[in-house]
């Protein structure tokens, strides 16, 4: 029997029972569609987060006060108070040859005003190293000047959004602003390029770190950002940082040192696991669709008893009949899967309109996996009814109407 005829026969058999066929296609389409949409969402979430974090730059190390790992054992009787990270700690790190830039960060919020216009804004205290570290660019004026970081100079750099809010299109460099209860002179305005430090770089005012510490009355740092001299030096830099801080903090390991690579790897693992879990759950619906196929085909076989009996009478061997029913199940699975893919594409298009910034592209592995599982599900669940058809006794089925 020609392959074309086999496919033609099975195809027309499906079309001959439109409602049953429609239900099976719907079940398959929903199963495949949900697997693909969910894996696309999971993959998109992963890419989004990884993308955001990738912007941090690859040789970056971040030092945070306090140890964030939990160790086993009873809570200490006298709590361990993590020491503050100080400016001196940050400057001490420059001793290491594996480190190229060190930028201490102090962060707070304060009202910033020019004349009558006032805004509560994030104030970031840092050193000139922040410019190369975060690849910032100046739109006007210049960044913080080199000099003694312990000196609190009354100068500041505005982010582009806050500049627009307070000055509009008028030049800001050289002007004076009030931050909190002090006056600062504007020496530059940031452009909108460069990487963030985890906050909106447009809506920020940068002052020397010592000025920020005076403003917020603190001697501790929010964190220290460090750039290793190159990729291979990251490991040594981490060790050097740990050693230097430990020495300065009376032998306590009370800081957390994070490298971007580790963050990325962790997030990647989390999101891959999340995506697979979610897709796996959706795949259950494919199994359900397969069971539906089996159910419907069993009914079809019993409805078509006299047809099967006739086929045997005109000379179809049992395994030919098995093949015909299996091909029918396979065709229905594939066509259902195709509809599922169309459904998924439509759903993703709609989501893309609602959330334009979210990266949405159907991962190829999920397309292949969904179609593959759909097909195998259809075949596995089609085998039982097909075998039943092949074993029908022609005499029995032909002696009735």
């Amino acid at each position: 029997m020609y392959l074309r005829d086999i496919i033609g026969f099975s195809l027309r058999a499906s079309l001959g029972y439109p409602v049953r066929t429609f239900l099976m296609l719907l079940a398959m389409a929903i199963g495949v569609g949900s697997v693909v949409i969910l894996s696309t969402l999971g993959e998109g979430a992963r890419r989004y987060v990884i993308g955001q974090f990738s912007n941090l730059g690859t040789n970056l190390i971040i030092v945070l006060p306090g140890r964030s790992e939990t160790v086993g054992g009873p809570p200490p009787l006298l709590g361990i108070t993590p020491r503050d990270l100080t400016l001196d700690d940050a400057m001490a790190l420059l001793r290491s040859s594996s480190i190229r830039h060190v930028a201490p960060l102090t962060v707070g919020a304060a009202p910033v005003s020019v004349g009558v216009r006032q805004r509560e804004t994030t104030i970031l205290g840092s050193t000139p190293s922040l410019l190369p570290l975060r690849q910032l660019e100046m739109a006007q004026g210049r960044f913080l000047p080199e000099g003694d970081p312990t000196r609190a100079a009354p100068i500041c750099v505005l982010g582009y959004e806050i500049k627009a809010e307070l000055f509009g299109a008028a030049p800001a460099v050289g002007e004076s602003v009030r931050i909190g209860d002090r006056r600062f002179r504007i020496i530059g305005v940031l452009s909108d390029k460069g990487e963030s430090v985890g906050m909106d770089m447009g809506d920020i005012v940068i002052v020397p770190v010592a000025s920020a510490q005076a403003l917020f009355n603190t001697s501790s740092l929010f964190r220290i950002m460090i750039e290793a001299s190159d990729r291979d030096a990251i490991g040594r830099a981490k060790e050097a940082i740990a050693a230097i801080i430990r020495e300065r903090h009376d032998g306590e390991d009370d800081v957390t040192i994070v490298t971007q690579d580790a963050i990325l790897a962790t997030f990647d693992r989390i999101f891959v696991a999340l995506t697979l879990t979610v897709a796996g759950i959706a795949a259950i619906s494919l199994a359900v669709a397969g069971i539906l196929i089996m159910n419907v085909m069993l009914i079809a076989v019993s409805q078509r008893r006299s047809e099967v009996g006739l086929l045997k009478a005109i000379g179809a061997p049992g395994n030919r009949i098995l093949l015909l029913f299996l091909v029918e199940a396979a065709i229905l699975s594939l066509v259902g899967a195709a509809f599922g893919l169309i459904l998924a594409a439509a759903g993703i298009w709609v989501l893309g309109r609602i959330f334009p910034d979210f990266p949405l592209s159907m991962p190829l592995w999920s397309l292949a996996a969904a179609v593959g599982v759909a097909l195998s599900s259809g075949l596995v669940f089609g085998v039982l009814p097909a075998r039943r058809a092949a074993r029908l006794d022609p005499v029995q089925s032909l002696s009735r109407r």
Binding site: M1, D5, A313, P317
Partner: protein
């Protein structure tokens, strides 16, 4: 040439064993016209099914043109049903979703005959049987007589040498029944062995040979 020797067939009905055929010996020469008659339950349909390879005997031997059929596997028996035997049923058994022409084409599709040859043969058969104007209709759009004609066309499209008809006129009125019988007899005079099972004594009279069955045995012949 069909030779049956010592054929026995039993069925389980509920939990009772019922003997449908007991020790049947029968020889039918090529080109004969035989009518198998008898009351309900006499085993005549079972006999036809065994001759047509739709059923296997529990005991005995079946020789078709000198070859032992009884030992053959499913594929080989299916091949014989495709090429050497044609079946016509009381209830027609046309595939409801296919047109008349597609129904007639079906045995050739199963046999793997190429599409152009199939079209040619179907066209020729349709003309010969006078169903040209109904060829593209579905069975539910045809009358009983037309359906049976389509069924006969399907049965002979592969040019078998034996045609088996189980109550071919059982579902038809007198006029259509008469037409169908004429077609069958026409095929027989062309050399096809014709074996019919029937209740109708008038139909039986037309055959060259009558076999009467009672209770699974051949009671008389003439």
């Amino acid at each position: 040439m069909i030779t049956l020797a010592g054929i026995c067939r039993e069925f389980m009905v509920g939990d009772e064993r019922v003997a449908a055929l007991r020790d049947v010996d029968l020889t039918i020469a090529t080109g004969e016209y035989v009518a198998v008659m008898g009351p309900s339950g006499s085993g005549k349909s079972t006999l036809l099914n065994i001759i047509g390879l739709l059923d296997r005997p529990d005991a005995g031997t079946y020789l078709l043109d000198g070859d032992y059929i009884t030992g053959l596997g499913d594929r080989q028996q299916a091949a014989l049903r495709r090429h050497k035997i044609g079946f016509v049923f009381q209830f027609f058994h046309l595939v409801p979703r296919m047109t008349a022409a597609e129904n007639i084409e079906l045995p050739m599709i199963l046999a793997g005959i190429d599409p152009s040859e199939r079209k040619r043969r179907v066209a020729a058969t349709i003309d010969a049987f006078g169903i040209g104007n109904r060829a593209r209709h579905r069975p539910d759009q045809l009358s009983g007589g037309q359906r049976q004609r389509v069924a006969i066309a399907r049965a002979v499209i592969m040019q078998p040498h034996t045609l088996l008809a189980d109550e071919p006129t059982g579902n038809l009125d007198r006029v259509s029944g008469g037409e169908v019988v004429e077609i069958l007899e026409g095929l027989n005079s062309g050399g096809i062995t014709l074996i019919t099972v029937t209740h109708d004594p008038d139909l039986g009279k037309r055959a060259g040979r009558r076999i009467r069955m009672v209770d699974g045995r051949i009671e008389s012949e003439d």
